[in-house]
């Protein structure tokens, strides 16, 4: 008993938080503060919280207790709307399956044994399948126009389709920026710099307001597709810079070796340099994907109902006005789970790849 206790104390003393006197004092002070604040937080979030309201009751019960406890009843009641938007209720298995498709796509992409050319095909096929499933209109699935899509599936669609569609464009822009041909280089540099110098919201407004002016009047494109196009344009410019860094990081000897084998530009690019560049840029691509995933929330500004848009819509409802902290907390948790997981993975990847190149 005493040996177990003393070995426990010894392990504890070796732990980083009790390494020396300063650390110990700081840890003790912090734990005291943490206890106090977590006590207050738990009081608000758990003990005094209202988890559900009786059927057809107003939110008055919550309002009375608003200062003391959280009103998770708002989430409880509007859970489906926040996550899936106003998709027809009896068809909601479809957005759920679409979400699962996307999540399994991300999961599969993290496995190194799947880093094969067909992974690129998967990144086209799976979002395509998910969009078709949401859209319906075949095999007895009822057609659901994109105005009814919302919540998490919309966030996934915007970010994943945007990434997949922007990827070839980004590669082309990166190659163009490094090209020896002055006209092509200037065009690519202008495109990339203009897009990166202007806030994304501007392009969303452009998509919402200006795009119809550019098109023939018989030609109507729904709002979601317009936002998607704007995102593709923007993501391409950001991806181009990441891929350019990768192309420049490919050792010069590779270009020279390819040239001395008599390979021309395209064989050199497709067979030698681009595959290596893409492998180098994978952590950068993952980081770009995280920021795209977060930035798709901007579509809430032009009135699309992505995950943040549905949360805002809930808060406009007179019943739930004033419960913003609870609803935003919930949505923030959803965003955090995804991007934190992906960013941890990206950091792991960076460590692994640098370790590998050092050998």
């Amino acid at each position: 008993m005493t040996t177990a206790a003393s070995s426990f104390v010894r392990t504890l003393r070796r732990a980083p938080m009790f390494r020396d006197r300063t650390n110990t004092i700081a840890t003790v002070a912090f734990v005291a503060g943490l206890l106090y604040w977590s006590f207050r937080f738990l009081n608000w979030a758990v003990v005094n919280a209202i988890w559900a309201l009786p059927q057809d009751a107003g939110s008055n019960l919550c309002r009375v207790a608003q200062r003391e406890g959280a009103c998770w009843a708002a989430i409880h009641e509007r859970f489906r709307f926040i996550l899936l938007g106003s998709y027809p209720f009896d068809q909601q298995w479809r957005p759920t399956v679409a979400c699962l498709l996307f999540i399994s796509l991300y999961a599969v992409s993290t496995l190194r044994s799947f880093w094969r050319p067909w992974l690129l095909a998967l990144w086209i096929g799976v979002p395509g399948a998910a969009v078709l499933l949401l859209r319906g209109g075949f095999l007895g699935l009822s057609g659901v126009p994109s105005e009814f899509w919302g919540g998490l599936p919309l966030t996934f669609v915007l970010s994943t389709v945007g990434f997949s569609a922007a990827f070839p464009l980004g590669v082309a822009l990166a190659l163009g920026r490094l090209s020896r041909l002055p006209a092509i280089r200037v065009l690519c540099v202008a495109y990339i710099e203009v897009i990166r110098g202007v806030p994304i919201v501007t392009f969303l407004f452009m998509a919402a307001v200006m795009f119809p002016l550019f098109m023939p009047q018989s030609f109507t494109v729904d709002k979601l597709l317009r936002a998607q196009i704007a995102f593709v344009m923007v993501i391409a410019a950001y991806l181009a810079e990441v891929i350019r860094a990768g192309l420049q990081a490919v050792p010069k000897g590779q270009y020279e070796a390819a040239a001395s084998m008599g390979l021309t530009f395209w064989p050199t690019t497709i067979l030698i340099t681009l595959p290596q560049a893409l492998r180098i840029t994978i952590p950068g691509l993952v980081n770009t994907f995280i920021s795209i995933f977060k930035d798709t929330s901007l579509v809430a500004v032009i009135g699309l109902f992505d995950l943040l848009g549905t949360a805002k819509a809930v808060l406009v409802d007179p019943k739930w006005i004033g419960f913003a902290v609870e609803v935003y907390f919930f949505v923030a948790c959803v965003y955090f789970v995804f991007s934190f997981a992906v960013s941890q993975y990206s950091q792991y990847l960076e460590r692994m790849l640098t370790a590998r190149t050092l050998h």
Binding site: P16, R19, T22, N23, A26, A29, F30, Q66, R180, L181, P182, A183, I184, L187, V194, R196, G197, V198, P199, V201, T202, F205, M206, V209, M210, P212, L213, F214, M215, P216, Q217, Y255, E256, A258, A259, S260, G262, L263, T264, F265, T268, I290, K294, D295, S297, L298, V301, L308, L315, G322, A324, V325, Y328, F329, A332, Y335, F336, S339, F340, S343
Partner: protein, 429 residues
């Protein structure tokens, strides 16, 4: 028939390698055989001429881009005609007719759209500049905290960074704004300190009115600047001659105190504090910070600080440990090691990514449109909704942002150019 040397098909990339390869071919004397070709082959060779292909390709690409823009322009012109929207920037001179919450620039709804947009730009600049200052200060704190030897501090800092970086900025802004909305109404305003009121309409603090004596203060400021320059130059010269400068900080603080008190004594200004007072449904008088501005400023600076903190941490880590150890071996104190050895070297690593964070903050201030702060984008939005001049309004906003981006990059590259001489001299040239 001779086998055409494969090197004739010049790879586009890396001209030097190609040229050297060609030289080898020429040296072996096979190139002379190429002169005996028949004309279809010569024609074929034209396609293999990289210059010809380059010009052709560029012409085609430029033509396609021009055609695309021409098509869009024609279509847009015809669309505008059918909707009878007159294009051009004439709308800028018309009266805007909407109100903007008071900011640094005076404005009333009778003013023109141009003035409204200028007010928006002023608001964007104000929130961006303040945000950059706050974010840099907070970022420095976080960067240093993440490197702290005290486990609790470094863990707290990294938790902060992870939480802030992994949730959307728009969500954070909405969250801060919604926090301000649960504050009490003006009638039941919180009073954290006497004369200061915090309510759902914002934060109200007393303002100081300055009456007279401004001239003397200005004169004192001017004198201080001249003297400061003088002291700094003298100190540098002395250091170059004797190895030790003047105690500049002490001298300058003393000078400032003397000059300021002299100016106040002579000028004798009347300083009156104006307290905010509740009149009707809101406070009047004093200075106020609107909840929109506060939410935007807090959101932008806490968000950007996480990124700047990571940059600063990376920059400090990039400095070799040997530098710190060598400085310690020379007997420099920890503060001096940081100030004279680590920071001057780290700053060169830190500045470029931090610049892009400043740019990001400026661009992200456009999210003000979501919480109703009248920045450039939200006034552009109102303008285009009222006038229908979507293309002109958005083009104007894009132009302004591009100009801002260029200005910040330029300022930072100037700074970088200045900070390069700070690098320590190499021992072995």
């Amino acid at each position: 028939m001779p086998i055409q040397p494969r090197h004739e098909r010049t790879p586009r990339l890396n001209p030097s390698a190609t040229r050297s390869a060609l030289r080898i071919v020429h040296a072996s004397g096979r190139a002379s055989e190429a002169q005996q070709r028949t004309w279809p082959e010569r024609n074929h060779r034209r396609w293999n001429n990289p210059r010809f292909r380059a010009i052709l390709l560029q012409t085609i690409v430029v033509a396609i881009v021009c055609a695309f823009f021409a098509l869009v322009a024609m279509q847009t012109a015809s669309n505008l005609r059918t909707r009878s929207i007159a294009s051009g920037f004439h709308f800028l001179g018309r009266a805007a007719g909407f109100e903007i919450s008071p900011g640094p620039l005076p404005y009333s709804s009778r003013d023109s759209y141009a003035r409204a947009l200028a007010v928006g730009l002023g608001n964007t600049l104000r929130v961006s500049l303040l945000g950059i200052l706050l974010a840099t200060a907070l970022g420095l704190l976080i960067g240093v905290a993440r490197l702290s030897k005290i486990w609790v501090i470094s863990t707290l800092a990294s938790a902060y960074v992870e939480i802030v970086r992994n949730t959307p900025l728009l969500l954070q802004l909405l969250f801060w704004y919604s926090l301000s909305q649960v504050l009490p109404s003006p009638a039941h305003a919180l009073r954290p300190l006497p004369g200061i009121f915090l309510c759902v309409r914002g934060l109200f603090v007393p303002s100081l009115t300055w009456d007279g004596g401004l001239l003397w203060i200005g004169a004192a400021l001017l004198a201080f600047m001249i003297l400061m320059l003088f002291v700094l130059i003298r100190s540098r010269r002395r250091r170059e001659q004797m190895g030790q400068g003047l105690p500049t900080t002490r001298l300058l603080v003393g000078l400032a105190t003397v000059l300021l008190s002299a100016a106040l004594l002579i000028g004798h200004p009347r300083i009156t504090a104006e307290r905010p007072a509740l009149m009707g449904f809101n406070f009047h008088g004093g200075m106020s910070i609107s909840p929109e501005f506060a939410a935007l400023l807090i959101g932008l600076s806490t968000y950007t600080a996480a990124f700047i903190g990571e940059t600063i941490r990376g920059g400090m880590l990039a400095i070799d440990r040997g530098q710190t150890e060598a400085a310690a071996a020379l007997g420099l104190s920890r503060v001096k090691i940081l100030r004279l050895v680590v920071l001057p070297q780290a700053i060169r690593v830190i500045v470029p990514p931090t610049t892009s964070q400043f740019l990001n903050l400026t661009k992200n201030s456009s999210l003000a449109v979501a919480i109703g702060y009248p920045d450039l984008i939200s006034i552009t939005n109102t303008t285009l909704n009222q006038t229908g001049q979507a293309i002109e309004a958005i083009a104007l906003a894009m132009f302004v942002y591009l100009a801002l981006s260029l200005a910040i990059s330029l300022a930072m590259s100037l700074y970088e150019g200045r900070s390069v001489p700070l690098q320590p001299a190499r021992c072995n040239p």
